[in-house]
């Protein structure tokens, strides 16, 4: 059956996340952006929503199963509040979700309870590398098996909370395949940049460069153990999260500029009453809807184990990134001079909006 209504549970979750996004994340976003820091108590409050916890089985300290659809709905809502905040709150998932989905029994038992059962604590993953044609399926960070241990060499970019993270999940190229490796914070050869990364957007999220020089990893620390992990599935999950966040940010920009256009007068009428503005808004809304559905479908495919999930997650992420740029750019345009100044959030959303083309890896559902 086709069906487009979230379940009642999902609906409740959406409402809870929306409330948090609107009342906590959004009001804090500008300050966080300018100061570079989102107050921990806001992160903590987001953590209490229990998104990650609900996606991890009871055996490992959680109270549910991963649902990509539910995750996508939650990420969209949270990014509707603030992208950087959403990425901060959900950062531990970058580490925990892959383990929950593909970790060995040992890995699950060792890491999940401690992440899930307490307060928010920094765990993260390192995927992105610093190249204009960065390709998650062709990483330049290399893993080699030497004397019964994996050795990791390379450099990672945009690693959230790297400095304080208890452990990182480092993605690396093992014989041409991307695999993931659990790296403890104290691992020798792991060096984290002093300076934070400075990007055009998401400045409230602490991101670091991470260098790996002959970092030795016990074989048991390879995600999934000996047999490794199905990286394509994890990548699909990250791409859907990226698309969901793009939809959330775009929708925030759409709603804000729509409301502004209904308020703002020029030449005796509200500017929304001008076809030029009204048509822009109509197209923004249409594009958002299109990409939301594409993203939902990919998530549903992932949940139901369809082969198409990998490809459709890619399509959704690609399309949503383009859409987010278009929509946020137009939101700024609708606000005109007011869109260009930092009194309104749309310029921030435009800067964030451009990020989706290159930020896959900062969220997972």
């Amino acid at each position: 059956m086709y069906s487009f209504d979230p379940t009642e549970e999902q609906q409740m979750l959406i409402e809870a996340v929306n409330k948090y996004a609107a009342n906590d994340l959004r009001p804090a976003a500008r300050n966080a952006e300018e100061s570079g820091e989102l107050p921990r108590k806001i992160i903590a409050k987001g953590w209490e929503l229990g998104l990650l916890q609900a996606s991890i089985p009871e055996t490992y300290g959680g109270f549910g199963e991963r649902s990509a659809v539910t995750g996508a709905l939650a990420v969209e809502e949270m990014a509707f509040g603030d992208l950087a905040g959403a990425l901060a709150v959900t950062a531990p998932s970058l580490f925990a979700t892959p383990i929950s989905l593909m970790g060995s029994e040992e890995q699950k038992r060792e890491y999940l309870p401690r992440i899930v059962e307490g307060e928010w604590s920094p765990y993260t993953a390192a995927l992105i590398e610093y190249a204009f044609d960065f390709d998650p399926n062709d990483l330049k960070t290399i893993a080699t098996l030497e004397d019964g241990r994996y050795s990791l060499n390379g450099e990672k970019a945009f690693v959230s909370f790297a400095k304080e993270a208890q452990a990182l999940l480092v993605y690396a190229n093992l014989d041409g395949q991307t695999q993931a490796f659990i790296v403890a914070k104290e691992a020798e050869g792991l060096s984290i940049s002093e300076e934070r990364e400075k990007l055009m957007g998401v400045n409230a999220l602490p991101l670091y460069r991470v260098k790996l020089t002959n970092v030795k990893i016990p074989v048991a620390n390879r995600l999934g153990g000996e047999s490794g992990c199905a990286f394509e599935q994890l990548l699909a999950s990250m791409r859907i999260a990226n698309a969901a966040a793009a939809v959330g940010v775009a929708n925030a920009a759409f709603e804000y500029s729509r409301d502004y256009a209904k308020e703002r007068e020029a030449f005796g009428v509200k500017i929304a009453q001008k076809q030029a503005i009204a048509f822009m808004l109509a197209e923004m809304r249409t594009e958002i809807e299109a990409m939301r559905l594409l993203m939902w479908e990919a998530a549903w495919e992932l949940d139901t184990g369809r082969e198409d999930a990998v490809k459709d997650a890619y399509l959704a992420s690609t399309g949503a990134a383009d859409m987010a740029m278009m929509v946020t750019d137009r939101a700024v345009q609708i606000l005109g001079g007011h869109g260009y100044i930092r009194d309104h959030p749309v310029e921030m959303w435009m800067r964030n909006g451009r990020g989706f083309a290159m930020l896959t890896g900062l969220a997972i559902i």
Partner: protein, 428 residues
């Protein structure tokens, strides 16, 4: 409820069956009828009529396969006696998409009541429905059409000048006016031996001073004296589908052929109600656009595959070729447009107000089917531009999607009004 993307089984079955129909009965005829404009595809019409009859009228194609036909009540619940959710509109959308993938012009030649029957269904009394609609289940393929557009009134239906006056003596309506762009008007009105007697539904004013409140639809039987098909349009695409101009000079119609109340004051919402059938058709028209776009897209991929060009999904855009990037962007457009259609008809099936989603699906389909087909022709170069293949035809066929049943601009207006909460007066 939950979020799910499984096509219901009857939908999937219809898609499967109609793919064969499209491949066997439509594609082989596409070029011929494109090049022989105004020739009626009798073999196809007769085959489709028999096939539809044989299958009980709704397995092969919807009983009222036209964009504006609401699905019969019994079909909505037929799966298991009403326990499963209704899927009537979903089924029609899937059928229309599949048949338009075959040939959107030939799709329009599918026998049935079309928009004319839809108007009777929406605005007529139970007696009128029985009287006028039974013919579509008869032995001969039978057509009906809707006459609304006039030369001076395109998207602006309130500017209609056709006039119906009551002859108090004979109790007949006397209709005068000129209608254009009547899809299937010839097959609905002209008395061809191979066809059952059809009708056209003519929109006219019974009281010009009353504006929209005075607008009524009249069933005008095929062959009515005073009514003439004065022109068959020559079109850029969908050439096999006849588009007629129809003139009415003192055409006399029985009193009971008026749909709705014969006086102005008693039925102020008649026009609105009938217009609402247009809203319901938007996602269905959108579905035809998706079908044409998919035809072009799949053709492109086949030609590329012949040259061993396979799309490397998953690569960063910066590693793609221009061709791969285009194909990927097209696939994003195509898939998402289809999902928008599905959502809009799913809402219709579930009686959720879908004015926004219906118009959005039409906006997007109009956009993406012109973009995709134009891009496919470009990408295929000389092969795309040549009439040896169908790509160029699909580009011509696709363009109508963004024009008929509300242009892209009109639908953007509707979307904008919905999202802004504006009336027609607030946003013109």
């Amino acid at each position: 409820m939950s979020i799910e993307f499984d096509a219901p089984k009857p939908v999937a079955n219809a898609q499967f069956v109609l793919k064969t129909v499209a491949e066997e009965m439509m594609r082989p005829n596409s070029r011929y009828f494109d090049e022989h404009e105004h020739e009626i595809p009798w073999d196809y019409i007769e085959f489709m009529h028999s096939a539809m009859k044989a299958m009980g009228g709704n397995s092969l194609a919807p009983r009222e396969p036209s964009p504006s036909s609401p699905p019969p009540e019994d079909e909505r619940h037929r799966d298991d006696g009403g326990k499963r959710p209704p899927i009537g509109y979903q089924l029609i959308a899937a059928q229309m998409e599949a048949l338009s993938w075959g040939d959107v012009g030939l799709y329009h030649c599918l026998p049935g009541g079309g928009l004319g029957a839809a108007a009777v269904h929406a605005a007529g009394s139970p007696e009128q429905r029985e009287k006028f609609l039974a013919r579509f289940h008869g032995d001969k393929p039978t057509f009906a059409a809707m006459c609304i557009t006039e030369a001076g009134a395109g998207s602006d239906n309130s500017a209609i000048r056709t006039r119906a006056t009551l002859d108090e003596k004979t109790k007949e309506w006397v209709i005068n006016g000129e209608k254009i762009f009547v899809t299937g008007g010839d097959k609905s009105f002209t008395e061809y031996e191979k066809l059952g007697r059809g009708f056209i539904v003519v929109w006219a004013s019974i009281d010009p001073a009353a504006g929209r409140a005075g607008m009524r639809a009249f069933v005008v039987e095929g062959g009515t004296p005073g009514v003439r098909v004065v022109k068959l349009e020559h079109k850029m695409g969908i050439r096999v589908s006849d588009t007629a101009a129809i003139s009415l000079v003192d055409a006399r119609v029985p009193f009971e052929n008026i749909l709705g109340s014969p006086t102005v004051d008693q039925n102020p919402t008649g026009f609105k109600k009938a217009m609402a059938t247009f809203d319901a058709t938007r996602p269905l028209v959108a579905a035809t656009g998706v079908g044409v776009a998919r035809a072009a897209f799949e053709f492109l991929k086949e030609r590329l595959a012949e040259r061993e060009i396979h799309i490397r999904y998953g690569l960063p855009r910066q590693k793609l070729t221009s061709i791969e990037r285009d194909v990927i962007d097209m696939e994003i457009m195509l898939k998402s447009a289809w999902l928008m259609v599905i959502k809009a008809v799913w809402m219709a099936d579930n009686k959720k107000p879908n004015a926004l989603e219906a118009s959005m699906s039409k906006v997007r389909s109009g956009d993406i089917c012109t973009k995709i087909t134009q891009k496919v022709v470009e990408m295929l170069g000389p092969l795309g531009y040549s009439r040896e293949f169908l790509a160029e035809k699909w580009m011509r066929d696709a363009k109508i999607t963004d024009i008929y049943e509300g242009t892209g601009q009109i639908n953007r207006l509707v979307v904008a009004r919905q999202i802004l909460g504006y009336s027609g007066a607030e946003l013109r």
